[in-house]
Symmetry: C2
Subunit: 272 residues, 2 copies
């Protein structure tokens, strides 16, 4: 992943870490060792996952616990701490956006009784900032804070369609595959899809796997009139009525854009 810090220092016992920055990188490597499958780890697991010697891991983790970036439970397992979550809740591109979006996402969830997703682009992936799901909704694919591919999800395609053209070309130049079917994506077809999304200000994606679903996604614009996020409703393929869902998703996306201070109307009110 683009964000992972390579551990440059070899594991040499007894060697003092170099002065300054590498210590900071190591501290963040400890944080980066956690993921959705590893939300709590022993000291040994943390050391192995981060590639940092156990003695340094113990010392660094102690500093992180003291600050509240990590917490340690009664069995000595480490997990991400509440203080880190508190600070992270100030991230404008996640919580700030979410704060504006939530009431409108609630409306959509109430109308559709399924999943409502809000995602932003981070590097070459989408990051799910919020998800509202009804009790009755079908089993869900993504978790809040999780990543999703740009080229094979409704929100991802919308984020890609409104990204800078250099970035689009870079993505189009790569070998892309639809997971989990392992079907290759045609760059020409993807290019047409992106153009159509910009034309319509909406994307309706039908997928058969991993489960039959329809995702109806629309762009959310920020105060700089550039794309800030993508909003979607994900419903089971059976009984889905994208013609009815489209206007609802568009309306909510437009309301969120206005809430963020966007002036742009392109893509929000497409020509009939």
């Amino acid at each position: 992943m683009a964000h992972e810090i390579p551990v440059t220092e070899p594991r040499v016992r007894g060697k003092r870490p170099p002065q300054g920055d590498p210590v900071v990188d190591r501290a963040f490597a400890l944080l980066g060792a956690f993921d959705a499958r590893r939300r709590s780890m022993t000291l040994g697991e943390l050391a192995r996952r981060s590639g940092i010697p156990t003695s340094s891991t113990l010392r660094l983790a102690g500093r992180l616990v003291a600050w509240g970036a990590l917490e340690r439970d009664a069995e000595g397992r480490y997990s991400i701490g509440l203080r880190l979550w508190e600070v992270a809740s100030l991230a404008p591109r996640a919580q700030g956006l979410k704060q504006v979006a939530m009431p409108y996402m609630g409306d959509l969830e109430e109308v559709t009784r399924q999943h409502v997703l809000l995602a932003v682009r981070d590097g070459d992936q989408g990051l799910l900032v919020e998800r509202l799901s009804s009790h009755l909704a079908m089993p869900v694919l993504y978790r809040v804070g999780g990543r999703l591919p740009l080229h094979s999800t409704g929100v991802g395609l919308v984020l890609l369609a409104y990204a800078e053209s250099e970035f689009q070309e870079e993505v189009l130049g790569r070998p892309l595959v639809h997971e989990p079917e392992k079907v290759a994506v045609s760059p020409a077809a993807l290019r047409r899809t992106l153009a159509a999304i910009r034309q319509d200000g909406l994307h309706v994606l039908r997928r058969r796997a991993p489960q039959p679903l329809v995702s109806v996604a629309a762009p959310v614009f920020g105060a700089d009139d550039r794309i800030a996020a993508a909003l979607s409703v994900v419903v089971p393929l059976e009984h889905a009525e994208p013609r009815l869902l489209g206007p609802a998703v568009r309306t909510a996306a437009r309301a969120i854009s206005r809430g963020l201070g966007a002036q742009r109307s392109i893509g929000l009110v497409p020509a009939p």
Copy 2:
């Protein structure tokens, strides 16, 4: 605040920072410099707020931007980064709890059309983990990621009522004041309130300021059968029907507790 790291090193120009841990503390001091009123800062503001010399701030902030803990906008202002938010979303006591609670919070919001709050205790304060608010809801007091006093909010009193008795005694021993009225809290009255909450498994708090409201709050228990969070509905005092809200809040809190793996029923089903 218990979590803030004092900046131990004096501001001496040109002095090399000591090796190892203090650098980590400084990196986190930069993160801790952000708050709800300062979500984005220039380099100078960041240095002033954190008490770290500008040259060190620049260097450290560069590392944090490289990792994604901070982001830097076109005007050079720093804000909390998306990668930090992503890692923080793995915090069991915040996002993990929220994931279980959200559908039930959604139900409560749909029924009440006002505010639904979920808070955990962190040190001697409550931390708002989630808030669902209807469009029509009265202006709101608290933001997600924000802190609230234990002794004068519905969720805070519930968190305090089920906390360890040593901690309760410590709080009862302090001079406590209701904000914004500046009315002193009587320790004896607070003690009776906490006992009544444990008896009822519910608290109905009526407040006149800063606005007339009723908060109806109930405890949420975790897999260890200890208090994990407090759930509340906050409605305008006028037209509030706490007798009707109580069972709704209790029911949702119980459902969340079960979702977290709690066995405990004390306080969830009080005697009639």
